[in-house]
């Protein structure tokens, strides 16, 4: 039997406000436990929630960015459940009337464009954090996070593989950061994801029974957990059993998913309109104002990079994966005056590799855009070859010096004097009579050997193009 995978994601993006969604307590990450939890967050009797206008503005901004209708009137609801990380006994969320209605985003998987529908996005408050195991028979509760504004972004079940799910998640991740409504920090839990996944026989219309995977706090974990769950569901289905609708927790240490609780029972949230909050009205003037604050979005930027800089769509979308990276690239192009393709190769290639290796963000790069631009100018004017440039770049990264200083200090200037190059070539030919004979006997592959020897003898400084040309003449 061929199975078709159906995936939908619920993404929780913490909105980057200073204060909480319904109270004036701070939202900063990493504070001492419970020092940012006020009477509203603690659910004390007699307190009332008041909506943070910035959270509303951010939600509206997201709605506009995904081409959705931003509801002129939306309503907050109580989602009732008992858990000590939520002292009120309910979470204030939105249910029937969310702030952002249907929208969509485009993702690219294996070179193919696909539209993923977004059902809705709604505002809600985050819960606190519980820590188990540190106290004998007790659970510790930190309510600093309780009341932090969240935008829950619910997708349609439009994804057909873990790869598509990751592409969609990355798209939303990049979008919220472009919009500056969420810092996207997955380690700190600012951007989290639950995945709904089911299988059905290929060709069948009706959806199979789904499970919900929780605790997916990195792109890699989402992909791993989904792949595990697909295998598990196939095993269940092919041994003629039924998939049970349930919530499963992904355990990254054991790399397994396990059942958390039966969903039917837990899902009885008895939503009702929160009588403490009046309907939220978003006036057209407010929306117009938000529209003027929209930045150039990833898709538009990618398209512009293709047109303006003549880059492949692959390069362009790598560069626009974050707003900061795209800005860095454009600065390099502007400051160096070099060919955009050369700049793109360095930003996507060596620079990104160094950043990854050191676990740094582009904003923390040891080589700032002006310095990289300076080095690229030296490639463009033939002072150094691309190969030597790698050495220069590495030295720039370590020392923070300008390319020119390093080229000078290390004597890395490219040899373009054909007399000097010829001299090296003659030596190499003299030292390798056997290879010369082979080459002249028709073994053309040996040409590469000679190029290598000459470059080595010149310590990589000979201009490779000249070496090629001169070698060809001499070897005949």
């Amino acid at each position: 039997m061929t199975w078709e995978v159906v995936i939908g994601l619920e993404i929780h993006a913490q909105l980057a406000t200073k204060s909480k969604i319904f109270s004036g307590a701070a939202t900063a990450y990493g504070a001492e436990p419970n020092t940012q939890a006020c009477t509203v967050d603690l659910g004390m009797p007699g307190v009332l929630p008041v909506i943070n206008s910035e959270a509303v503005r951010m939600a509206a901004k997201f709605g506009l960015a995904i081409g959705a209708e931003v509801a002129q009137r939306s309503v907050f609801a109580r989602k009732n459940y008992f858990y000590p990380d939520l002292p009120k006994g309910y979470q204030i969320s939105q249910f029937e009337l969310p702030v952002v209605k249907q929208g969509q985003v485009q993702v690219e998987v294996d070179g193919e464009e696909k539209t993923i529908g977004i059902t809705r996005a709604h505002l809600e408050e985050d819960a606190g954090k519980s820590s188990h195991g540190d106290f004998q028979g007790l659970t510790g509760i930190d309510l600093n996070r309780a009341g932090t504004p969240l935008l829950e972004i619910v997708s349609e079940p439009d994804m057909r593989s873990p790869k598509e799910a990751i592409a969609y998640m990355k798209k939303i991740h990049s979008l919220v950061r472009y919009l500056e409504i969420c810092d996207g920090n997955m380690q700190e839990g600012s951007f989290r994801c639950d995945a709904n996944i089911s299988l059905r026989p290929k060709g069948q219309q009706e959806l199979g029974t789904r499970t919900e995977l929780k605790n997916l706090n990195s792109f890699r974990f989402v992909e791993r957990a989904l792949n595990l769950e697909i295998e598990r569901q196939i095993d269940v289905l092919e041994s003629d059993n039924k998939v049970v609708q349930e919530t499963r927790l992904y355990d990254s240490d054991k790399n397994e998913t396990r059942s958390m609780r039966s969903k039917e029972e837990a899902n009885d949230y008895r939503y009702f309109h929160d009588p403490d909050l009046l309907p939220l009205i978003i006036e057209p003037e407010f929306l117009e104002q938000v529209t003027t604050t929209l930045p150039e979005l990833p898709d538009a930027k990618t398209q512009r990079f293709v047109n303006q800089y003549n880059l492949s769509s692959y390069d362009a979308s790598s560069l626009t994966s974050s707003r900061e990276l795209a800005d860095y690239f454009e600065q390099v192009v502007e400051k160096s005056g070099s060919e955009a393709k050369l700049c793109a190769n360095w930003v996507i290639g060596d620079l990104s590799a160094f950043l990854n290796k050191n676990n740094l963000d582009i904003t923390e790069s040891k080589v700032e855009s002006g310095k990289l631009a300076g080095m690229l100018q030296r490639i463009s004017d033939n002072t150094i070859s691309g190969k030597i440039a790698k050495k220069v770049f590495s030295a720039m990264w370590d020392s923070g010096d300008d390319a020119d200083v390093i080229i000078d200090k290390k004597g890395l200037k490219q040899v373009t004097d054909s007399g000097a190059i010829e001299k090296i070539i003659d030596e190499v030919i003299n030292n390798n009579p056997k290879q010369l004979e082979e080459y002249r006997g028709g073994k053309e592959k040996v040409f590469g050997f000679f190029v290598g020897q000459v470059m080595k003898a010149s310590k990589g400084k000979a201009n490779p193009k000249q070496v090629n040309e001169l070698l060809k003449q001499k070897l005949i």
Binding site: S19, A37, N52, S130, H132, L278
Partner: protein
């Protein structure tokens, strides 16, 4: 419409309310009466009516995104049954 007794027990359980046998039968009757009343309202044609979200005909006032609360942890934790390292302690919620 008569609500099954089990349903009342389930609702009580979800709301974490302990009911005695006599209370269960009392609430079964009262809740059934409410459902009967809802049934009666269901016969009214509400096609063009926007559901009411709040009894007050007013809309939400928004506040500015400003941190206005200071740290009053010690004050709040004074009345907490059990605390440690700044955390509120509660009976363990997972096995």
């Amino acid at each position: 419409m008569s609500l099954p007794k089990e349903e009342v027990e389930k609702i009580a359980n979800l709301a974490k309310i302990a009911l005695t046998e006599s209370e269960i039968s009392m609430y079964t009757k009262q809740l059934s009466d409410i459902l009967d009343f809802v049934e009666q309202m269901n016969t009214v044609d509400t096609t063009d009516i926007i559901p009411m979200a709040h009894p007050l005909d007013a809309t939400a006032r928004l506040r500015e995104d400003v941190v206005s609360e200071s740290d009053q942890r010690d004050h709040f934790q004074n009345i907490a049954p059990q605390i440690e390292n700044g955390l509120y302690l509660v009976p363990q919620v997972i096995e």
